[in-house]
Assembly symmetry: C2
Homo-oligomer: 433 residues x 2
């Protein structure tokens, strides 16, 4: 007796939940991912700013599946699918057969055609992005230490494009890193190090209540983040950015946190696509007209009952994963549910730095400051996979908080150190749609 095979593309928040949701179903689950680890993306910016180590926020997929006896993993990059033959194809040239397919391949940075952004800005979506950014930032300080004239060329300046949670958290963390680097580089005018946050809207943290947004702005300003609200980036150059009002910010580091688009795979699968290149799904999260292909998380253009696109955040992916697991299990059992996916918003949070965060829960509860920060810390600790990772993150956070230090100030990315063009520009982003 062969059991139906569920192939899940992507071992992120959504993909892992599909495997967990099917752990007692009479199916075999195979997760495919181009990385052999699940990445806890919400803390990626702390790796980039030397506060956490890669092993703190990455967990081997095979380890996460240990106790799910009907789930396996294969390392590989899926490049397409043949839906008639029911196989997916990989970049390695192999075919993987499926009875049910769940597409959970996530999102990547989108630069919306802004001139120079693909070439000179850097994204923050992968562990490599974070390690490259960390090495890049530290190298700029080392170069300026050897040649102080580089300070005037923006060696110590970072422009963060985008005032959503990622941009705000990164900007706050960069200012805390500057405090540490001021001790590392006593001969450098680190007080001239700048973080400039550019946001098109007149406020930061769009999903939050106005009082929390104002709190975030005050906290960012208190930490020395320069806000350019209501401004957009007209152009990114090797030496900085030009804003829509013609003003220029000289900076050797530009991080693009202003938008995401569906992973490349969305275009390769041949399904209808919606905003941001996301795959259109029906209310069950299935590809319209099919009962065997499902799409969850950042790569899905799922909508709520009012027809609004669901946000590209971890809880949507996780709930979507469990929903799809239940749908597939019901089909395998011969009693299809065909239930619509109902996303339950359990609230949202963002941190600006030490004892500063904003959190809002659906019934209108709002938290900020130290209490919000403690909630943020606790939630993220609980969401990490594995006791070792949790203990290690807790250790590093305690160290960071008590000593005002950052343990990860290592220039380790050989490619960054040796192969990067001397103009300090980024490694290039994938082309925008």
């Amino acid at each position: 007796v062969t059991r139906p095979r569920v192939v899940v593309i992507g071992a992120g928040f959504g993909g892992l939940r599909v495997a967990r949701g099917l752990r007692r179903a009479p199916v075999d689950v195979l997760l495919l991912d181009a990385a052999n680890y699940h990445l806890f993306q919400p803390l990626l910016y702390q790796v980039a700013t030397a506060g956490l180590a890669p092993t703190d926020i990455a967990y081997p997929v095979r380890g996460a599946l240990r106790r799910i006896t009907n789930a396996g993993f294969r390392l590989g990059t899926v490049t397409g699918a043949d839906l008639d033959r029911k196989v997916v194809t990989t970049a390695e040239g192999t075919e993987v057969a499926f009875d049910f397919l769940v597409v959970a391949a996530g999102a990547r940075t989108a630069t919306f055609g802004v001139p120079g952004a693909d070439e000179h800005a850097r994204g923050l979506k992968t562990l490599e992005d974070a390690l490259r950014l960390r090495s890049h930032l530290l190298l700029r300080f080392e170069e300026a230490a050897a040649d102080p004239g580089l300070v005037g060329e923006g060696a110590l300046t970072t422009v963060v494009v985008g005032g959503g949670p990622t941009g705000v958290e990164l900007a706050g963390a960069l200012r805390e890193l500057h405090r540490v680097l001021a001790k590392d580089f006593p001969g450098l005018p680190v007080d001239q190090a700048r973080v400039v946050l550019v946001e098109l809207a007149p406020h930061v943290l769009a999903p939050f209540h106005e009082r929390l947004r104002r709190h975030a702005v005050r906290q960012l300003e208190a930490r020395g983040v320069e806000l350019r609200l209501g401004r957009s980036v007209a152009k990114v150059t090797p030496g900085g950015v030009v804003l829509d009002d013609g003003s220029e910010v000289v900076a050797q580091t530009v991080v693009w946190a202003a938008g995401v688009q569906a992973a490349e795979l969305a275009a390769q699968l041949g399904f209808e696509r919606g905003p941001g290149g996301r795959i259109v799904v029906d209310e069950r999260l299935a590809v319209p007209g099919r009962d065997d292909v499902w799409v969850i998380g950042d790569i899905a253009a799922a909508r709520d009952e009012q027809g609004q696109l669901l946000p590209q955040v971890a809880p949507v992916a996780m709930q979507g994963g469990l929903h799809v697991a239940a749908e597939i299990a019901s089909q395998v059992a011969g009693t299809p549910r065909n239930a619509p996916f109902r996303y339950r918003d359990k609230g949202t949070m963002a941190t600006i730095g030490r004892r500063a965060a904003v959190a809002q829960l659906p019934p209108g509860l709002r938290f900020r400051g130290t209490l919000g920060w403690l909630m943020w810390l606790g939630l993220h600790l609980v969401m990490l996979i594995g006791y070792r990772n949790r203990a290690s993150v807790l250790l590093n956070w305690a160290y960071n908080y008590l000593t005002w230090e950052r343990g990860g100030r290592l220039i380790t990315y050989q490619g960054e150190a040796q192969d990067e063009p001397p103009d300090g520009r980024g490694p290039g982003l994938p082309p925008s749609p």
Copy 2:
């Protein structure tokens, strides 16, 4: 009033001790290193086998110098020196002037002209070596999981060349990693994973007493390490190694732990060189005929009172660093000591794995088994720099010991995953002298 400037090339065990030894002397110390971190090399093999994270064993040089107010750091690769003008030159094209120069640039892997070793074997001297090896090992398992035929081609086999402490510790750690991977890869015959240790001498761990060597051999064999004692490697191929008796070991991973030579800089400085390319020094550790150029650690051909070359181990470098600091301080004070360097052997240790280590102290004290292992753990914890690193290593060791797991099983080296030739060969070693 300008103070004499002491330039130290290398921020390893020796270089850091020079800075510490001169912290109260009326000099300015400048450390130069191609990496921005001090690397605790004795635990490098644990990063390669996923037991520790890079941030556990690497410490930012600038952090290590925080409290030494007369010492600074510059990132750079020294490529030569002009002794008449008293400057060193860097790969970045800058010149750094010195009044005193301390060469502490360490050692690199030596393959002694064995055919194929430079191309197909990999060293284990840098953090990149360790991360590459980790990714390489894990990738071979992933590939074999997708194509079990690769097991017969040595995908799960590692040959460790060299039965000194590095080779023995690596071989033991690899076998412990195999136990973890057996749980990760339930579909793979991980019981066919092999570690073959090749050693020219009829025993392992040459510097140790015969009873400890025998203990190490028993422990290695109990852990399933296959010993090829009294054998040398005649040739390394893309598919394995050929031994001097004509026998072949099919293996997709070959680690060269059979020898070191002086860092490349030794040849670039133009001084007389001795065995292994090491710079000849007088009994004070100065370059013969000079009072301003000193050489310490692995790159120095220092000798004891009997004319025997001192071993290339951390304690020699550390004691040499303090000795040279005292010599320079005495010269600056106008009362040159001109004292000979006397290395005090405080003992030596090596671990084979869980509750198995050997340790011998000079008065003839010998320890092994659990007691030796606890001594090994304690000593290495104490020698690490920084409380955060110590706490993190202790956390990881406790986790590894209690759970029989390894938290660092991440394939993170992009270059390894994407650029490596499909024959599984190594990244190439520097040419042998």
